[in-house]
Symmetry: C2
Subunit: 456 residues, 2 copies
C-alpha cells in the first residue's frame, strides 16, 4: 500500500472515530436535557388532564389541536402551522349496557365498550350467544349455528409470545373483521374479547370495519375476564346475550395535523418527519396511546433546539390526527408533501407507548437497516439493543408510496405492559413512569440527530 | 490439515451447534412454562398478601419461613429443609411523628419512617434544623454549625444516571453513615432524604449503622418532596424540627434460611446456589424487594422440575433471611456449606425487582464473564442484552471468601421503576406486572439450566 493510501485510510478511520465520539458527546447532552431539564412529564400531564381523551371529530380533539399548536409555539420552533384534513366522526353515545341471562333467568351485568365505527343496537338487542375462539373458527361455522345469534369471539393473547405486539397482531382479526364475518352467517351482533394481555375487567375498544353488501351489525368489546366467564357458562347452558348501544357515525368533520419545524441549514427542502398521533380512543386519557408518542416527538425537537443544534435538513414534528379510525392525517400529510415538491428523506414514529426504550425498527432496504445498526454502539450506554428490520408506524406509512425508497423508523419501547392500557380506561397519565417517558424522549431526539447526520 | 483433524473439527463444530440448538429448544420450553403455566404471580400474591412485610425477627418473618417451607414442599423438590440462623431484632414501635415549625410558629406535619436500626427519640425531640446536600458537605461542616441541631441530609438521586442503581449507590452514604457523621459533630438527630427516583410523598426506610464511641442519635427518612420543602424553607428562615420515634433494638432471635434442592445426578456435592431474600422492610409488602427474587428462584426450580430436567449438579434454591439488616442468612449459609465440605461452583441472586429482564451480571474472572457472554445469543429472542461484569448480590457475596474462584451472577431487570417502590409503602403486589415477573422467572430458570450445563 502506498503511503498516500495509508494516510488516507488513517484520516478516514480517524474522522469516523472522531464523528462517533462527537455523536456520543452530543447524545449524552440530549439525555442530560431529557432527564434533568425535561418538559415531557409535565407536557404529558397537561395533554392528559387539560385535554383528556381526544377521539377524531370530538370537541376534545379540537382542543387537542389548540393544545398542540400552543405547545409547539411555546417552544419557538421556526415554523408552527396547522394542516387541514377531513376526519370521520363517530360518537359513542350514552347507552352502553350489556347483560347475560342464564337458563334459570339469572342476570349478570357486563361491562362493554362499543367498537369504534359500530352501529347502535336500535333499542335493546337480545339473542342466543354462540362462542368461537378465532375468526377462522367462525368462518368455518355453519350458517344454521350462527343465524339470528350474537357471536362472542373469545381469542386470548398467546402469552408465550415474548413481544406482546405479536400477540396483538394475531388477535387483531377478531376485532377488525369479526362483525363482517359474523354478519355473513346471519349473526345479529358481535362481542369480541378485549385485545389485552391481562385478565382484568377493563374492556378495550378499537377500530372495526364493515363491508358493502354485508349487513352492519353492532359490535362491542368485553373485558377478558368476562369473556372467559361467558365462554365457561356457555359450555354448560344456553345463554341469552342482551345489549344496547346508541353509538353512531356522523358526517366527516374538519380537523388538523399540527406541525412544527426547525428549518434545515443546508437542505431546507429535504425533510425528516417524525411524530405520533394526537387523536386517541375515548376511554382513558390516551396517555400511552399515543400521548407518549406526541410528547416523545415534541420533546425530541425541543431538546435539539435547547442544545442549539442546527440541522442540515428540515426537522419536522407532526402531531397526526385520526390514526385510530381512518388515518386521514397520515394520508393527507404524505399527499400534501409530495404535491409541494418536498423531498422526504426519512420518517420516524413513536406509537408503542411510553415505556423504557429498547431500540428502533426500520422499514427499509437492507442498506438502510444496516445504517440503523451502525447506531447500536452509540446507544449502548442508554440500554438500547433492538436495531432491526421492522414496522415504522401507521401515520408515516403513506409516505412510502409517495416517496420511493424512504426509510421509516419505529421507536421500540418495552412491550410488556402496553396492552394492559391500550384503548382502555386504564390508559391514563398515572400509568406512565416519568423516567421511562424521559428516556424515550432522549432516544427519539438522539435518533433524529443521527438521521440528520447520516441519512442520505 | 489431516483429514482426521478436519473430521474432528467438524464434529466439534457440529456438536457445539447441536448443543446450542438443544439449549434454544429447552429454553423455549422454560419460557412457555413460565408464561402460560406459571405459578409465579399467584405465589407472589400469596407471599405479599398472606404473609405481608417480613422484617427479620418479626412474627411475619416467622410466618414467611413457614410459607417458604410449605411452598417448596408443595413442589416436591428432592430436599426441603430449614437452616437455623440468629438474626437482629429491631422494632419500629408505634410512635413515628414529625413536624417542622416555622419562625412564625406554623406547624407542618411530616411523614417519616425511622431508619432500620435507629434508636428512639426518648420522647419528643426538637432542635434547629440544619441542611446539607451530601455526606461530604456534612463532614466539612464546623462543629458549631451542627452541635445540638438536627441534620437534614438532602441529596437527590442524580437523574442523569441511566441505571438507577448507580444513583442509589451515590446517595447511599447519607442513609448508611449519616447518623455517625452528624453525631461526630454533636448533632442530636438526623433526617435523610429518601433514596428514591421520584418526587413523591413516600418515605423509604433502609438500614443505617452506628459506631462505637460515637453518640447514637435517632435517624429517619423523609419523602423526597418533603425534604425539598424543608430545604427551601430553611433558606428563608430558621426551622425547628420536631420528631418522636420509639423504635428499638432487641436481643437477637432465632430464624431460618429456607432451602430446597434437586440433587445432582453426576456431581451431587457440587452445588449451584440461587435465591433471593425472604425478609423485607416493614413498609409495603416487600413485593419487588425481594418478593420477586424469592419467586424468581422458586419458580426457576419448579419449572426445571416440571420439565423433568435432571441436573448434573445439585440445584439449590435458598430463601435467605435477613439480607436487609445484617445479612446473617448469607453469612451463615456460606460458612455452613464450607464446613460441610460442599463444592459451590456458581451462585446467582435476584434482588433488583420484578421488572422486565435485561440480562445478567457476573462477579468473576474474565473467563467467567466470557462464558456468560456466550449465553447472549441464546437469550436474544427473549430481549435480554446485558451480559457483563458486575455485582452478584448481598446474600451470595459471602460465598466468595469461602469458595475461591466461584462466579457470582446477578439477575438484571430493568432499573427505571425500582426506586419508586424500594423500602416504601408502595412496594406492594399490585406494583408488580404479571408478565414482567414471569419473564424474570424464565430468565433465571434458563440461566440455572445453562450454568448446570457449562460451568466447570
Amino acid at each position: 500500500m502506498s503511503k498516500r493510501k495509508l494516510l488516507l485510510l488513517f484520516i478516514l478511520a480517524f474522522s469516523q472515530t472522531f464523528a462517533q465520539k462527537n455523536d456520543s458527546i452530543f447524545i449524552r447532552k440530549i439525555y442530560d436535557q431529557a432527564l434533568s431539564e425535561g418538559h415531557s412529564y409535565e407536557d404529558l400531564r397537561s395533554l392528559c388532564k387539560d385535554v383528556g381523551a381526544r377521539l377524531s371529530g370530538s370537541s376534545q380533539a379540537e382542543m387537542a389541536v389548540e393544545w398542540g399548536k400552543n405547545k409547539l409555539q411555546s417552544y419557538n420552533f421556526d415554523k408552527v402551522y396547522l394542516q387541514e384534513i377531513q376526519v370521520p366522526h363517530w360518537e359513542r353515545g350514552t347507552k352502553e349496557s350489556a347483560w347475560v341471562k342464564t337458563k334459570e333467568g339469572k342476570l349478570i351485568s357486563l361491562k362493554i365498550l362499543a367498537l369504534g365505527g359500530s352501529v347502535g343496537t336500535n333499542g335493546t338487542l337480545r339473542a342466543e350467544l354462540v362462542v368461537f375462539h378465532s375468526l377462522d373458527d367462525l368462518k368455518k361455522a355453519k350458517e344454521s349455528d350462527v343465524k339470528g345469534k350474537i357471536v362472542l369471539l373469545n381469542q386470548p393473547f398467546d402469552e408465550k409470545m415474548v413481544n406482546t405486539f405479536k400477540a396483538y397482531g394475531a388477535c387483531y382479526p377478531i376485532r377488525g373483521d369479526g362483525a363482517v364475518e359474523a354478519a355473513k352467517l346471519g349473526a345479529v351482533g358481535v362481542v369480541v374479547r378485549s385485545l389485552g394481555s391481562s385478565q382484568d375487567l377493563h374492556p378495550h375498544t378499537g377500530s372495526m370495519h364493515y363491508e358493502d353488501k354485508v349487513n352492519k351489525i353492532p359490535a362491542a368489546a368485553i373485558a377478558t375476564e368476562q369473556a372467559d366467564l361467558l365462554d365457561n357458562l356457555s359450555k354448560k347452558e344456553k345463554l341469552e346475550f342482551i345489549f344496547e348501544l346508541d353509538c353512531k357515525s356522523l358526517p366527516d368533520v374538519k380537523s388538523y395535523n399540527v406541525i412544527g419545524e426547525i428549518t434545515g441549514t443546508e437542505f431546507p427542502n429535504e425533510i425528516i418527519t417524525f411524530g405520533g398521533h394526537l387523536d386517541s380512543w375515548d376511554a382513558g386519557e390516551g396517555a400511552h396511546d399515543d400521548g407518549a408518542g406526541i410528547i416523545h416527538s415534541i420533546e425530541a425537537l425541543r431538546i435539539l433546539k435547547a442544545l442549539n443544534f442546527k440541522p442540515k435538513h428540515t426537522l419536522r414534528v407532526v402531531l397526526f390526527m385520526n390514526e385510530e379510525n381512518g388515518n386521514k392525517g397520515g394520508l393527507t400529510y404524505a399527499a400534501w408533501s409530495k404535491e409541494k415538491g418536498e423531498k422526504q428523506i426519512a420518517a420516524l414514529e413513536s406509537d408503542r407507548g411510553g415505556f423504557a426504550p429498547r431500540g428502533f425498527s426500520c422499514d427499509g432496504s437492507n442498506e438502510q437497516v444496516a445504517l440503523l445498526q451502525t447506531f447500536q454502539k452509540t446507544f449502548e450506554p442508554y440500554e438500547l439493543h433492538v436495531f432491526e428490520k421492522g414496522y415504522g408506524g401507521v401515520d408515516i406509512n403513506p409516505l412510502k408510496s409517495s416517496f420511493e425508497g424512504i426509510p421509516l423508523f419505529g421507536f421500540v419501547p418495552d412491550s410488556q405492559r402496553y396492552f394492559d392500557f391500550h384503548h382502555a380506561e386504564s390508559d391514563v397519565f398515572e400509568s406512565v413512569n416519568k423516567r421511562e417517558l424521559e428516556l424515550g424522549c432522549a432516544a427519539v431526539s438522539s435518533m433524529i440527530y443521527l438521521l440528520d447526520s447520516y441519512v442520505k
